[in-house]
Amino acid sequence: MSELKWGDRELAYDSSAFVRGSGHYVDDIKLPGMIHMSVLRSPYARARILSLKGGMSSKDLGARMASVGEGASPEAGLSIEPVFATGFVNYVGEPVAAVFADDRYKSTDLLESIEVDYEPLEPVVTIDDALKLGPIHSGRKDNIMVETSKGTDFQDPESPIVIEDTLENDRISANPIEPRGIVTSYTDGMLNVWISTQAVHSVKEGLVESLGISPESVRVMQTDTGGGFGSKGGLYPEYVMASYASMKFGKPVKWIETRREHLASTNPGRGVRGKVKIFAERNGRINGLKGEVTIDAGAYDSGIASFSPGFVAMQMTGPYSIEKAFVVARALFTNKVPQGPYRGAGRPEASFFIERMMDMLADELAMDPADLRLLNMSDKPFVSPMGLKIDAARPFFEGAVRELEYRRESKMSRGVGLSFFVLVPAVYPGESARIIVKDGKVSVWLGGNSHGQGHEIFVKKLINEELQVPEELVTLYRGDTGMTKTGVGTWGSRSAIVAGAAIVAVCKKIKQEVEKEFGSYSVRSLLSSGYDEFINNELKMPLNSFGANLATVEIEKMGRVRVKKCAAYYDVGRALNRDMVIGQIQGGMAQGIGQTLHEGLFYNKEGQLITSSISDAGVPLAEDLPNFIVNIVENRSFLPHGAKGLGEAPTVGVPTALTRAIESVSGKRLRRTPVTPEELMK
């Protein structure tokens, strides 16, 4: 029997362990008899597998992946990725077979022993290919995965100004510094899984569905998780393989992703094109918006890929009161790794489309971009034709223009970019929490898992506020499906909102229990007794918030962009912890700069991935970045604890402000991210 002997201290989420080097990441786990798994991956973007000898493959495990995690939809299913390639490979990096050995050196050696014959086929690499060429999956008539529309179609209004353009965000690898990884162990009919994840429940549901095993026979436990940014929210083929292997061999199995595997095989984000047409009056008032959104979804439906088109389309009027809008949106199959969520996941794309168009319209009319934006805002709440609900926008953004010192900045320099946005957090369907009070201590589990956001800090604060328990008596444990019956996950700017609300709800329940038992509530009574309460706290209403960014730049030799100023003005609701809020925003701003200037996953005409390292992928360095200016506005939400979302705000607002700043200095019309030095030198 192999078990992990971690005590209470090891299971608690404790960020002070990280400075000592005593964290508990998945690769730190060592179990007796544990074997290491390596995965053989497709070297072709598209090929028929003629023969395959050696290793574990689809002959052993013909399962298909379950659609779980962020954006997963019940409609998905026709085009779900197989755990191992079955008959064909459809992207470079697709798992073909797996091998197992005592250590990672030997399992890597064993990859050489697998023999595969491929017959290469013409790949569908780009969005244009996907529209032009035949379907990559036989049995389908074209490469359209899903097609949807938002708003109501309308006849082109009689408008003196009509502008139209096509805008694009390249794909980006999430690149958390810790790659993905899993350890599985099957003992006495129980599959125990330790994993670096944003959502233990997604992984559990996925394994149950993919392997056809009962929910009672799987326990998924989160290890310290070295960043996720969307990439660790759901199920991946390797998780099913490692679980199956531990059941088959009766030994614990470890798989740790390499960085090259991460670039090739972990679902990247973005990869979206928008064609937008704006109808406006000469005074700048917009009469209508029409659009087409196209998602480069990759070879299979990861869940978010079929959700994204409608989600991007829905947000395309931004914070503006545009009365007529209609957007057609589709996701297309290509022979690339399936697209997934990356910090923002549809929000930055929609904002890039509307904000670029606002700047272009301002240029067309020779108006100030801020004035044009404010002109198209309302003093009252507004529901867009596509169903986006926003509060009164104009008062907030007038404040933003003032606090970001936009007028002064634009007098001083040419290279100023300003962006306005509305953040749509993933509130639905709420979150779960469990609190156990025992031996004078309070132990907490959440349905979604911290991986650096500081959940432990707001958990302690809210429990102290609700139950007056001293913070040092409260411990937040890492995600564990053995301790929470159900749960969702950490993504979509949701945790402070939904996990916070769940904590408050459990506290209220416990308080009532104490009152029932003792007649009145006191922290002394609470700690002297024992309680164990779990709540699946449903939240289904939108809780959108506003934000604005300002950026200024210089363009140096060889088209190198230096970011001089990068400032934010965000409504974060009640900031549960100011330092954590600022830390989240600074980190997100770095990612926003990364997307704009350096980051991308690039494929050649044959569908070969030519981005081969984390540096090639453009993750920003310390010397690339400025100090950030963060202004937070605390307009409490209607929830008892007052929180709003914020984690993704910077990846929505920074790319648009920064692209405009570069456009203003360079005088070149910019239509895509990343903005490369080559483009600026042209």
Binding site: Y25, G226, G227, T258, R259, G583, A590, Q591, S615, E623
Partner: protein
């Protein structure tokens, strides 16, 4: 596979071991010595999560064979605190929130340790330049730069105290 014998000093302790010639130092530290505070983040020597000190110099331990550490002195993150007391850099990273997910932290601290040994009062620009071999995906680096500055201040204060005590 044949093995070779190495002798090193790791965090002040003498270590003798038989290793395969191809064993990377980072895997030797993590898997043979259970010093799991040193992390692996990439396979191309870019990210710096595996940074350790070899004879006082910051080195990416994924790019060094264990055999090359023969006869050398290695310090990992586990060897930084003395008698349970955190090193000023460790204190500073905690206090100034120089970390979120924690995965790059060991490498950041050891590279900063080396920097502060060479330069007791580095400017912001010098800190950013010296940390450019260490990637962080969470913080945007600003809080890390503040942590290093604060650590420099703590270390200089400590030195002044020590000098005062000697007098």
């Amino acid at each position: 596979m044949s093995t070779i014998k190495i002798r090193t000093k790791v965090n002040g302790k003498d270590v003798e071991a038989e290793v395969e010639p191809r064993t990377l130092l980072v895997h030797f530290l993590r898997e043979e010595l259970n010093l799991t505070g040193t992390h692996v983040g990439c396979d191309t020597s870019n990210c710096g999560a595996c940074t350790v000190l070899i004879d006082g110099q910051a080195v990416k331990s994924c790019t060094v064979l264990a055999a090359q550490a023969n006869g050398k002195e290695i310090t990992t993150i586990e060897g930084l605190s003395r008698n349970g007391e955190l090193h000023p850099l460790q204190k500073a990273f905690l206090e100034k929130h120089g970390l979120q997910c924690g995965y790059c932290t060991s490498g950041m601290i050891l590279t900063s340790f080396w920097l502060l040994k060479k330069n007791k009062d580095p400017s912001e620009e010098e800190i950013r330049k010296n940390l450019s071999g260490n990637l962080c995906r969470c913080t945007g680096y600003q809080s890390i730069v503040e942590s290093v500055k604060y650590a420099a201040q703590l270390m200089n204060e400590k030195e002044v105290e020590r000098e005062m005590a000697v007098r």
